[in-house]
Symmetry: C2
Subunit: 236 residues, 2 copies
DNA sequence: GCTTGTGAAACGTTTCACAGCA
DNA sequence: TGCTGTGAAACGTTTCACAAGC
């Protein structure tokens, strides 16, 4: 098992504060949310922002914000706060979205098509370069009014992934096919999986997988609504 | 602020193990995943399952599974494990999805339409009863081939929520309108929000909100792919 | 043999509190 | 005064380890 090890000769950085692997996952998740908020603040014309203001806008403490950012270096100014624009660039560079990532969608059902046609990804650094299906009725049909990209046969997945350097695969097939599609994506050279199927995927050790089970989110809501009302679960 | 308090006269249950509020959020999230796996095991004809087997299928330890379930009572059998069908029913009853919850979708863009037409929610106990938009070009158009439900004007939101007892609102509008739509949903009587807009929502204390920012998930993947490669973040 | 349920230990994350700086 | 960055304390979650039961 090859363990990732950071290069010891960082070219221009004297202070690499800590290896990416040592950063807690919750902190990385919040980093994305900070970025989202900062982009909003920038639109409003804000030039600087304090950890307290940024935290409050998301329901976190100021200390939380500072700790999270400190994992990656120190780019705040005591007495002033953080420069909004510079912090945005720094977070993008930390997340790796200062360049464009290519992704493919497998499964041209309603959800797959909706994701494929969603405009918001490009601004965030993601380009959905192709959508695949196995249904002959869908293959060849064109999606999206101006771009008119064609639904491709799954047979062509490997070619597209290699030719376009695709690193992310988005799975929007029914649960019973999610595993085989995942295997195919990883064989084709994809490095990480975003899974919308209500299924748990088995992947080689260390391969990043994120599952977005929509029903799970609704169940969490239902539970919390009931909990708030004080509805206690009695023994059945 | 009214704090939820459990009724002291649980009708047929002598042992209500612990108030719902005291259960850690991560445990509740896993409960949904256990349910998902158990439904799969049931389809395969499994009658009983051990905490180890259930945990392994999701990448958790056996102790984790037992601890999570123990928050809600004891329904396993030493030496045997858990009865799959009974455990499914128990988890549904804990999550509250042993009955149907009504939800509405606000925002009839690609994502909103895709969610609205997604068949999988009904089996999980959720019925999407209406979809709303403010765009006159969309209002009145019919979605879905057999059911042909109409996109309604947002003006009618309050009526529908009251008439159909809707408890969950799903927000799929652009970020700049997410807050006003949320306010409107809560005024109409909705109890919890599932938010797909890339924005942080402000709601009264205690109102359950779950945000599913798709770009955030992609950013997490990008970070983890880079971290795995050992690409360290140098000082900019 | 196998399994559950659970107190206690280990671990990780968040919050506190304050030195240092503008 | 206001703010950052950070060690230390507080808190919450996960894992361990084992008694009890099938």
């Amino acid at each position: 098992m090859a363990t990732a090890e950071p290069p010891s000769d960082s070219p221009e950085a004297a202070r690499a504060p800590c290896p990416l692997n040592a950063v807690p996952a919750p902190a990385v998740r919040r980093l994305s949310l900070y970025l989202q908020q900062l982009e909003g603040f920038l639109k409003q014309g804000r030039q600087t922002i304090s950890s307290r203001q940024l935290g409050e806008s998301l329901g976190y403490t100021d200390a939380q914000v500072r700790k999270d950012l400190a994992y990656f270096g120190q780019f705040g100014h005591p007495g002033i706060g953080y420069q909004v624009e510079a912090l945005i660039e720094r977070i993008r560079s930390i997340l790796g979205t200062d360049r464009t990532w290519s992704a493919v969608v497998v499964g041209a059902g309603h959800l797959g098509q909706a994701l494929f046609r969603y405009r918001g990804f490009v601004a965030k650094g993601f380009e959905l370069v192709a959508i695949f299906d196995t249904d002959p009725a869908k293959i060849g049909s064109r999606l999206g009014d101006p771009p008119a990209l064609e639904v491709l046969s799954l047979d062509r997945l490997g070619d597209v992934v290699r030719e376009r350097g695709v690193e992310i695969g988005i799975v929007t097939v029914p649960a019973e096919h999610a595993q085989e599609v995942t295997d195919l994506l990883l064989e084709s050279g994809v490095r990480g999986i975003l899974n919308f199927a209500p299924a748990s995927l088995v992947v080689p050790d260390g391969v990043p997988v994120t599952s977005v089970a929509l029903a799970v989110h609704l169940e969490q809501l239902a539970f919390r609504i009931r909990a708030r009302r004080g509805e206690v679960e009695p023994g059945g």
